[in-house]
Every structure is written in C-alpha cells, then in structure tokens.
C-alpha cells in the first residue's frame, strides 16, 4: 500500500530564516506530487505541482520554491520566511498519468514569528 510522509510535523521559525519541508511517498512509482497551504477558514491553496523529476509548476507567485530531487521526494523551501508564510502545509500525491483523487500527508504546521 502507498504511504506519504511529511516532516517536520510542527515548526516555529523567525522571520527571515530559511525553510525546508520534506515529503516522501512510498509504495508507488512516478506519482504526481503537490504542495498546498491551508489557512484557517480558507480552502486549500495549491502552491506547486510536479508530474516528474525536474517538472515543477508554480501556481502562485510567492516567497517559496519547490524541488523534486528524486521520483518520490518533494521539497518545499524558502530562503527568507515572511510572517505571511505561516500556515498548515500539506503534501499530496496522485497516480501518475491521468490525475484522479489525491492522497494527503499528515501536514506541517509552520509558525513564523
């Protein structure tokens, strides 16, 4: 069966510090991978999606970047965090090829102070 991992689970960082959130998927090959941010009372905002290594699309111009160094690894980064980067970050995967339902990781709660 497939599983998706995210870490860390929680993170408190000062403004201006760097960020690296990691996501890995097990039990599948060539998944489509996604990073979302969820703010309180708002829907999930798609940040990045990737259909393969070195194939990453950004949905919203922002202070963040994403990389996919391996087939089942997806990393969300920032060089300098802003207060507005606080939120709940979710990684998701869907079967490669035709997109269908997405399966989400446990999430990372990021607080920028």
């Amino acid at each position: 069966s497939q599983t998706i991992h995210q870490w860390p689970a929680t993170l408190v960082q000062p403004v201006g510090s760097p960020l690296s959130l990691e996501c890995t998927v097990e039990g599948t090959s060539n998944p489509n991978l996604y990073w979302y941010r969820q703010a309180a009372g708002r829907g999930l905002q798609l940040l990045f999606y990737s259909i393969g290594i070195d194939q990453i699309s950004s949905e919203v111009p922002q202070n963040l970047s994403a990389s996919r160094p391996q087939d089942r690894q997806f990393i969300l980064s920032s060089k300098k965090l802003l207060l507005s980067d606080s939120g709940f970050y979710l990684c998701a995967w869907s079967p490669g090829g035709e997109d269908n339902e997405q399966f989400f990781g446990p999430g990372t709660r990021l607080t920028v102070l």
Partner: protein
C-alpha cells in the same frame, strides 16, 4: 471563474439526526468531484470520487451524489466520531491542464 462553494459552513447535529452537506461548483470541463474528511491538525482523508451526474457512492453512514451543478454528502444517523470538516474538490480543465479546486469545507459537529 472556476469556483467551488460548500454550505453550510458549520453544522451541529444530534447523534442520529441525518442531514446533507452541499457542494456547488461552477467550472468548465469537469473531470471529477472528490470528497474528503479532515480532522483537526491532520491531512484530508479521501472519501469518494464522482465522475458523472447521477452517480452515487456509499461508505458506512456516508453517501455522495452528483448532479450537473452540485454534489451532496448525505450523513445518515451520524455518530460523534463523524465530527470533522468535510471538504469538496473538483478537477477541472483550466488553460489546457487539469487543476484541482477546493471548497472551504463544512465543519460538522455531532453531539452525543
């Protein structure tokens, strides 16, 4: 503009009191509609996928239905453990690619 709207925002039910959650959508090129359950502080858990009007899916006390403009998540005789936020999402064609659009969810509280 593609849009997904869920109602109500919050719902309180007594245990055993059946009800329905609504997800209305305005998108072009609908490929699929998805329902998720999300517990506080956790990632959404996939429940159902619906592809065409008239389709229905069931899982325990939950049944999802789809029309051309909306979907309903029916909860029959809910229990306190059904308390969660229920999210609806659509996969729609946008600028030549399929995108996912999520609603803001319905927070369900079932009282014992």
């Amino acid at each position: 503009e593609d849009q997904v709207t869920q109602s109500p925002e919050a719902l309180r039910l007594q245990e055993g009191e059946s009800s329905s959650l609504n997800c209305s959508y305005t998108v072009s090129g609908l490929r699929g509609l998805f329902w998720y359950r999300q517990d506080p502080g956790k990632g959404p858990e996939f429940l159902f996928t619906l592809y065409s009007a008239g389709e229905e899916k069931e899982k325990e006390r939950l049944k999802a239905t789809l029309t051309k403009k909306e979907s309903f998540l029916h909860i029959t005789a809910p229990k306190p453990e059904d308390s969660a936020t229920y999210l609806c999402a659509v996969q729609a064609l946008s600028s030549g690619t399929y995108k996912y659009i999520f609603g803001t969810g319905t927070r369900l509280k079932v009282l014992a």
